[in-house]
């Protein structure tokens, strides 16, 4: 067992909790998400997270954009000219032309680029008012959701929705790099910021391989999902899971959720939905498995998730080793310079 990365059976125990409840988390089954955003609202209500910008983003029905200090749940909406196995072609036989998805993405991207943090502040900051005027850009340079198929007359269509949340990693980049101990591992195995300790150094923001945690404007402290630590303490499930009408967000003991997810995946594969996959379920992945993991219907990057994240701490030993070598060289150079120069 390596405590910096890889599988870890007892995260809370590893963090020093002696007698502790089982590790809990979320299994978000995006195949049954209806995009109602009740999770976003319930989360904000319960945790008193501030409103963060009244922007029409043009990203389908997503006007939240991304997880951030002021968005602890984020529902992604992806429109694609393809269909899931059990679905019938939506627009077959209609007088349709080519898909408009490249055009819409082409109108969104310049607005994001014009934002101070490249659009990664969505969920913290409003976009600059107006932004550049949307233009008809023709085919954009990069492939976006759905670009990989391009029938002249669109027939297939699907609309993916997925509620994203902090992953509560087994090896959490944010927690590892926090210099004040404000971020800590709870007895439930979750990762929480202690607001009375955080001094807003911002290191966690760059430590997170998922782009989840961020510093709150006008407050200066880091904020993210607490997996409703206060509710857990009272034996309640987190607000988002409670509010989810279709059980897309399932809360429970992580071991049990993993079994449930495996069964659901097998069921979908049996139905021919071969593109269904679990994301963050594998304890052997770069973060030792997520406490909040997902069933997705496309590649993670389509939902804005990194395909193969790893905790930076994985490379800490080698980084310090290289730093040590460099430090030695530095000292050596200094010593040599004076030795060569001799006494005066």
């Amino acid at each position: 067992m390596n405590r910096l990365y890889g599988p870890l059976d007892d995260v809370a125990g590893d963090a020093g909790h002696v007698e502790h409840p089982p590790r809990v988390g979320f299994f978000t089954d995006t195949s049954v998400c209806i995009g109602c955003k009740a999770c976003e609202v319930a989360c904000k209500e319960w945790n008193a997270v501030p409103e963060d910008g009244l922007d029409l983003l043009g990203m389908s029905f997503d006007n939240t954009g991304m997880l951030g200090a002021d968005s602890w749940r984020h529902v992604a909406f992806v429109e694609q000219p393809r269909r899931t196995a059990h679905q019938d072609p939506a627009f077959a036989g209609l007088p349709t032309g080519p898909s408009g998805i490249p055009e819409t993405a082409g109108a969104v991207e310049p607005r994001l680029e014009a934002a101070p943090r490249g659009g990664s502040e969505l969920g913290t900051n409003p976009l600059p008012p107006g932004g550049p005027e949307p233009q008809e850009l023709g085919m954009p340079g990069f492939s976006r959701p759905g670009d990989l198929t391009g029938p002249e007359s669109r027939t297939d269509f699907r609309w993916l929705m997925a509620s994203d949340v902090c992953k509560h990693c087994t090896h959490a980049g944010c927690l590892d790099v926090c210099p004040t101990g404000a971020l800590f591992r709870t007895e439930f195995g979750t990762v929480v910021v202690q607001q009375d300790l955080c001094n807003g150094c911002g290191y966690c923001v760059s430590g997170c391989p998922y782009g989840v945690i961020d510093r709150r404007q006008h407050d200066g402290r880091a904020n993210k999902c607490t997996l409703c630590y206060d509710r857990l303490g009272d034996g309640l499930e987190p607000a988002c899971a409670k509010a989810c009408p279709t059980d897309s967000i399932q809360f429970g003991e992580l071991d049990e959720l993993r079994e449930r997810a495996d069964r659901r995946l097998a069921q979908l594969h049996d139905l021919g939905v071969s593109e269904a996959r679990l994301y963050g379920r594998d304890p052997d992945d770069g973060v030792g498995g997520d406490g909040a993991f997902f069933l997705l219907l496309d590649e993670p990057e389509v939902y804005g998730l990194p395909p193969d994240p790893h905790v930076p701490t994985r490379d800490a030993p080698s980084m310090w080793k290289r730093a040590g070598q460099a430090a030695a060289a530095f000292l050596l150079a200094g010593a040599a310079a004076f030795l060569a120069g001799g006494r005066r």
């Binding site: 990664s120 976006r144 300790l197 955080c198 923001v205 998922y210 782009g211 980084m319 060569a340 006494r343």
Partner: protein, 309 residues
């Protein structure tokens, strides 16, 4: 080079761009300067170069104070900077760095203060004690200076930011080189030519190392190398290399015979070092703003793993 094919969520970044501002780049530079200067100061002290010692000790403290100012003022809650001292956390380079800086700061600070005790207080016992302790404290600062010079590289690389994380093997060498160049350059700028010989050597070795390490770093980088080469960052780093190279040339060719030449070379090295830090800093920020630097390498990794062998 053909555009990379990849998929994303409306072209939106996957990662959060660092919340750090230019102050962090300035902090990197000032910390490096402090480290380099402290080595020069200790060496000068031990080898009897009082002018070099004095200016380098002061430069070291100045660099340290500036870096602390930049660091603290970039906090979301500056009044809580001391929370850094609650814990020592090996997994957090910032925590480790805080303690290294603390250890360094005690020595570098005391040694510098010893230089500026007003004449009329020099007879008092605390001043005499300080005078006696200045050397060991200065040497202790020099002993921790390599940590100060190199930890900032780990600080940046120990993140999910592709532009920093993927240069983790070379960045320490770039940063110590930059620190040495700036520390030596500072000595050349402030001390007489006669005393500054070791500073010139130190600066030259540092500058050369920095240029080589940076070249290796860029050369080895894959897709994310774009952020180091292109646009604003590319211009910054080209300027940095040019200044450092010029400073190096000046150091080797004119600094030993011309006070003005030495000063100019020192300034060039300092500027080159500063631009190096800003360049690396900005490169990392840029690498978070475009999802391709996150998605493409990771996708390639996944595909390589899952590809039928």
């Amino acid at each position: 080079m053909p555009e990379a094919e990849f998929r994303s969520y409306y072209g939106r970044p996957v990662l959060k761009a660092p919340v750090w501002e230019w102050k962090i780049a300035a902090y990197l530079f000032c910390g490096g300067l402090a480290a380099g200067a402290s080595v020069v100061a200790a060496g000068a002290d031990l080898t009897g170069r009082p002018a070099l010692r004095r200016s380098s000790r002061l430069g070291s403290l100045g660099g340290l104070l500036a870096s602390l100012y930049f660091l603290v003022s970039d906090l979301g809650r500056p009044a809580r900077f001391h929370h850094m001292l609650r814990v020592l956390k090996p997994t957090s380079p910032m925590s480790v760095g805080t303690w290294i800086l603390s250890a360094f700061g005690a020595g570098a600070g005391a040694a510098a203060v010893a230089e500026v005790v007003p004449r009329r207080w020099r007879g008092t016992w605390p001043a005499r004690l300080l005078g006696r302790l200045a050397r060991p404290l200065g040497v202790s600062a020099a002993a921790t200076a390599p940590g100060v010079a190199s930890y900032t590289a780990v600080l940046l690389s120990h993140t999910a930011v592709p532009g920093w994380n993927e240069v983790r093997d070379e960045l320490p060498f770039v940063f110590v080189g930059s620190a040495a160049a700036s520390g030596g350059g500072f000595g050349m700028l402030c001390a007489p030519v006669a005393e500054a010989g070791p500073a010139r050597v130190f600066a030259a070795v540092g500058a050369a190392g920095e240029i080589v390490a940076a070249r290796v770093m860029e050369h080895r980088l894959g897709l994310v190398g774009e952020v180091y080469r292109e646009g604003h960052v590319g211009r910054l780093r080209k300027a940095s290399e040019a200044l450092t190279a010029a400073g190096l040339a000046g150091t080797l060719l004119v600094a030993h015979r011309s006070r003005a030449g030495a000063a100019a070379s020192g300034i060039a090295l300092l500027a080159g070092s500063a631009l190096q830090r800003f360049g690396v800093f900005e490169a990392g920020v840029a690498s978070t703003k475009d999802p391709k630097y996150v998605v493409v390498p990771q996708r390639e990794r996944v595909d390589a793993r899952t590809a039928p062998s």
